[in-house]
């Protein structure tokens, strides 16, 4: 296997996902398949090839630094999983 259970657990922590043991096992197998598959890229010599991040090169456009939208508190809070008055209610973040 190309990836250990320990590594899967570490990635899951980085990705902020909780996995069951069964899911971990499935992912170990999936990683094995997909990482073997993508290894074919190593057949290609890419020395001196520039990486492409975007197919269409767009220069970073600049705009004036001014407010163009109005905050609509009620609209923004409408989808909140939990709220109190005009605030998002979240779990305690300092333990």
């Amino acid at each position: 296997m190309r990836i250990s259970r320990e590594e899967v657990r570490q990635i899951a922590l980085l990705a902020r996902l909780e996995l069951t043991t069964t899911e971990e096992t499935e992912l170990i197998e999936h990683f094995d398949k997909i990482l073997s598959y993508v290894e074919k890229l190593n057949q290609l010599n890419t020395d001196g090839v520039e990486p492409t991040a975007h197919a269409v090169a767009v220069p970073g456009p600049l705009r004036e630094d001014r407010v163009t939208n109005q905050a609509d508190t009620e609209a923004l809070l409408q989808n909140a999983p939990a709220r109190e008055a005009d605030f998002f209610k979240v779990p305690k973040i300092i333990e």
């Binding site: 899951a12 902020r16 398949k33 074919k40 890229l41 890419t46 990486p51 269409v56 409408q78 973040i93």
Partner: protein, 486 residues
């Protein structure tokens, strides 16, 4: 012929002559959805009341003798990854099962400004990740030509809605083939525009350097009308390109005389369904008979496209989907022990399996020690893939290929092995990596009467040439007029 069978250009002509009202047309489409959707599950939500209000507005505009917007009174469907103000937009995910957007995507706004009537939101693979619509967190859509088969994905509901006359046209998104594959599987016309041609503002992001919104339509002319309505620069999407939008209708009838059509040898491979290869070769011959000149070309890095895609797309997905943390909107897991636990359980419960797989792979390829070997390597191969196309366009004007190696497969046939599912996109994925426009148009049926699509690939911002070729081909062949037995 029933009203719901109309194309946009046919309906527009009737609406403008006042031989048909937008409300009549909208009611006919809503009724069609009611009588057929239990078989194919195109829609996640039908926004009937709002659609009828929009139709009423359209009728008032039609009554006032003013210049009318492009899609005045035309009922359309919108893929559920595209935000619609006030209409629930789930992206096919439990994570957003109750999310009602406080704003419109730019493409939604442009449809509204064009006078279109949004009849509802259509199903898709969760966060547009999939090739069959089986990854929808709610239910799979089914192919109108054979409900035991998939419609393709990820924009499966957009394709089934148009194929089954449950909308005159639809919007979808395409990151690796998600417009072209379902178009091909369901026998409709689908266009993925050039990266940057259409705004992505308000579209739920999957892989931002690849995602693009585009139309599903019943024919090339309707496809041109839909593109006209949504194309153009948007200050809210800094990757949308500020080049003029041509008049796609004006050039539609110019034909293909003298056009060089590149036939890449790498796209006609062992293991293809024989009926697909035969239909695509026949389509190329027909374009030849219409005046185009087929020329052999090579795209030598084709076999590396899927590997490149799954590294880049998952990396971008893992970053994009980090926003679903259960704080400001979307699902939040109950009963957790602290902040990190809230995040982890929220995401474990809110995301489906394929989404988790892609987030995990993307996190891995971006993590310390693996970035150069996987992500950077893939970005370099992406350059080689793009160069293949640019070189090919020195000797041809368009490229013609199959959309997929087979026609629509059965539900459940590929769900057990993700890699097999990924290979469905083998002929569409390189187009996204290169940022090019690609169109799927019906070109025949296999022995089981399932539709086959031919893909036309153009130069950057060369949508006109694709639509011209599609239009003249349709006029000559009429494959696009066949209807599924619903």
């Amino acid at each position: 012929m029933a009203l719901y069978n109309l194309t946009i250009h046919e309906a527009s002509a009737l609406l403008r002559k006042r031989d048909l009202s937008a409300q009549e047309l909208t009611r006919a489409v809503l009724e069609r959805i009611r009588t057929t959707d239990a078989q194919i599950h195109s829609y996640l939500i039908v926004s009937e009341a709002e659609a009828l209000r929009q139709a009423e507005t359209a009728d008032r505009m039609l009554a006032a003798a003013e210049p009318l917007p492009l899609l005045c009174g035309i009922p359309v469907a919108v893929k559920d990854v595209i935000l619609t103000k006030g209409i629930r937009s789930t992206a096919g995910s439990q994570m957003l099962a109750h999310f009602v957007p406080p704003y419109d995507a730019t493409v939604t706004r442009r449809l509204r400004e064009a006078g279109a009537v949004i009849v509802g939101k259509v199903n898709c693979d969760e966060f547009a990740m999939g090739s069959s619509t089986e990854n929808s967190a709610f239910l799979p859509s089914r192919n109108p030509w054979d409900p035991t088969r998939v419609p393709g994905g990820s924009s499966g509901g957009s394709a089934t809605a148009v194929a089954a006359d449950q909308a005159l046209a639809a919007l979808g998104t395409d990151t690796g083939g998600s417009i072209r594959l379902p178009s091909s599987f369901c026998g409709v016309v689908g266009l993925k525009p050039t990266y940057g041609r259409v705004s992505r503002f308000g579209v739920v992001a999957y892989a931002s350097s690849l995602d693009q919104v585009g139309p599903f339509a019943k024919d090339a002319q309707d496809c041109a009308l839909m593109l006209q309505a949504i194309a153009g620069h948007d200050p809210r999407d800094s990757t949308s390109v500020n080049t003029p939008v041509p008049d796609y209708q004006a050039s539609l009838t110019q034909g293909v005389d003298g056009l060089r059509i590149g036939i890449p040898k790498e796209y006609f491979v062992e293991g293809m369904q024989p009926a697909v290869e035969a239909a695509v070769r026949q389509a190329i011959a027909e374009l030849g008979a219409l005046g185009a000149r087929p020329v052999p070309i090579s795209l030598p890095h084709t076999e590396y496209a899927i590997a490149t895609y799954y590294l880049i797309a998952t990396a971008e997905a893992s970053s994009n989907l980090a926003r679903y943390d259960g704080m400001k909107y979307g699902y939040r897991a109950p009963q957790t022990a602290g902040l990190v636990d809230t995040y982890r359980r929220t995401r474990a419960q809110g995301f489906g399996n394929e989404v988790k797989r892609r987030i995990m792979l993307g996190t891995y390829v971006l993590s310390a020690g693996y970035y150069d070997a996987y992500y950077l390597k893939a970005q370099k191969v992406r350059t080689l893939i793009r160069q293949d196309f640019l070189k090919a366009f020195e000797t041809c004007d368009l490229i013609a290929t199959p959309v997929a190696p087979t026609t629509a497969f059965r539900l459940g046939e590929k769900t057990a092995d993700p890699l097999t599912m990924y290979l469905s996109d083998i002929f569409t994925i390189a187009v996204n990596l290169a940022g090019l426009p690609g169109l799927s148009i019906p070109c025949g049926f296999d022995e089981k009467n399932m539709p086959i699509g031919v893909q036309l690939i153009g130069r950057p911002f060369g949508e006109e040439a694709l639509l011209q070729a599609a239009y003249v081909y349709e006029q000559a062949t009429q494959w696009h007029t066949r209807k599924p037995p619903l």
